[in-house]
């Protein structure tokens, strides 16, 4: 049903197709492109885009398109991994907080309030400051910084669903709290969570690439979109294409994720409009 509704919308189809292409490139990229993203060739340094190098080459003569395709893997893994972390933390805390209520709820929500006092990039920066640089740490940092948003959404929905007659009936029949939460509450709050998780992938890719751009992620010469964009900064005049490749890649992927996410939201849970507009 949902899939059929999604398929009827052109924008979502386009987004899904682009996203599918990016995923295929990320997974099978190294098999498709036979050039080495790390291979330097000083003779070809700063070659503008041409038939042989459609995205040009960088200051070391490395093929920009090859690096963009190779970088897709790390950028997507960071985005998806961060959302998995945020989802795990958000589901755990949000379900417990909403279902248990009382002191537990109060405590969890105060912790979330404190986390919310740090804007996400700042919170991610704090986590990187403690854990150190590197792509895994950036992924953890972005994931942690998104946990409060997930907890709030999940807890809010749990509070609504737990008052429904069918949940009360399950309780009256003698179901244990854990079973009530996992079997009766969780399946009924999953739609808005899926929507948020989809849109959060876009946020994660942007925040992850931002941290890499600032020099806190993987180190050069590892191909990664944020790192490569930063690399091209000093060559804007002589080689604008060095930054353009990864820049266009990030933007296209994020637009695609947003198109799918927006449509999912309209189909699954239109009430989320205010949240995902942010």
């Amino acid at each position: 049903m949902t899939l059929r509704l999604l398929a009827r919308r052109k924008a979502a189809l386009l987004g899904a197709a682009v996203l599918g292409l990016v995923v295929v490139l990320a997974v099978a990229g190294p098999a498709i492109i036979r050039t080495d993203p790390l291979k330097m060739n000083p003779v070809l340094a700063l070659t503008p885009p041409n038939a042989e190098h459609p995205f040009g080459t960088d200051q070391y003569g490395r093929d920009v398109l090859t690096r963009v395709i190779a970088g897709a893997r790390l950028s997507l893994v960071t985005g998806l991994g961060a959302v998995v972390i945020a989802l795990a933390g958000g589901l755990g805390l949000g379900l417990v907080s909403g279902a248990a209520g009382g002191t537990v709820d109060l405590l969890v929500m105060r912790v979330v309030d404190v986390m919310m006092a740090f804007p996400s990039v700042l919170l991610a920066l704090v986590v990187v400051a403690v854990l150190g640089h590197g792509s895994t740490n950036v992924m953890v940092a972005v994931g942690v910084s998104l946990i409060p948003t997930f907890v709030r959404l999940i807890r809010g929905n749990v509070l609504v669903v737990r008052e429904q007659p069918y949940v009360e009936a399950a309780r009256a029949l003698g179901c244990r709290p854990r079973r009530v939460t996992l079997r009766h509450i969780l399946p009924n709050i999953i739609a808005p969570v899926i929507v948020l998780a989809t849109i959060a992938i876009a946020w994660s890719i942007i925040i992850g690439a931002s941290l890499s751009f600032l020099g806190l992620g993987p180190r050069p010469p590892i191909p990664e979109w944020g790192v490569d964009l930063s690399n091209g900064r000093n060559y804007l005049l002589r080689g604008w294409w060095i930054s353009a490749g990864p820049g266009i890649a990030i933007m296209t992927t994020v637009v695609a994720v947003n198109l799918v996410g927006d449509t999912l939201r309209d189909v699954l849970d239109p009430r989320l409009r205010s949240l995902t507009n942010l």
Partner: protein, 298 residues
Amino acid sequence: MLVSLQQRLALAIPVVFGVSVVVFAIVHLLPGDPVLVMLSGANATPEQVAELRAQLRFDDPLVVQYLRFLRRAVVGDLGRSIFSKRPVFEEIATQLPSTLELAGAAIAIAVAAGLVLGILAALRPNSWLDRLAMLIALGGVSMPSFWLGLLLIFGFSLELGWLPATGQGGWQRLILPAATIGLGYAAVVARLVRSSFLEVLGERVVVLKHALGNALIPVVTIIGVQLGNLLAGTIIVETVFSRRGMGRLAVTAVLDKDYPLIQGVVLVSALGYVLVNLLVDVSYSLIDPRIRHREGAA
């Protein structure tokens, strides 16, 4: 009004306490010997290690250390930067005005551009203008600020030569970084203005100024909600445009592992964010009488 202010202040107190604990914990969560980690980037001599160890007094119980940290922070003593050796408070005080200036200009651009785009889109719903405006809005939401910043530098500084690319001083150097942050939020404002404008126009209010007044309330709300992220946006944009400011200070501190400076910047930023949110909350009830009445009834 006074009651709601008191309630909000009471809610903010545990948050401020939590923020202070998190900032205090940054150093204590470091893997290994925090003193060695803190000095690892500074090529420190054994004397410097001993000096910092004596200064930080890590052997005291954690509670004692926390209370000492708190007592000092309250009077503005946030320690000294490991690199510049200057007091952290002084470092922050010299950088903060630049960030506030940038944030103010960014908000102005976000509201102005967002209103124009949103109203144009709402006046002719589903026309090509509406689609174009919403396409620009989608682009704005999906565009990482560092990429937009580089595009603006490339277009307006390097190619056209209209504006300086980097540095400090004068409104000319403020436009591009402020536009980089502001245009992203203009997209959010535009989407919001469009939908709330459509709602108001649907109520057969035809005079623009009436529709505008009502449509502005959610815009104020969203600017308030987004202020923290807007300030976080300065972290990236200040680096792209090589501007002085709190954001660049934070990044340099993390790259240099200058932990007293990290603690200071994070503490001031988070407390500033809490304070701004408090002010925004209170200002709603001033702007929108409905909220005031609801609170009065509650």
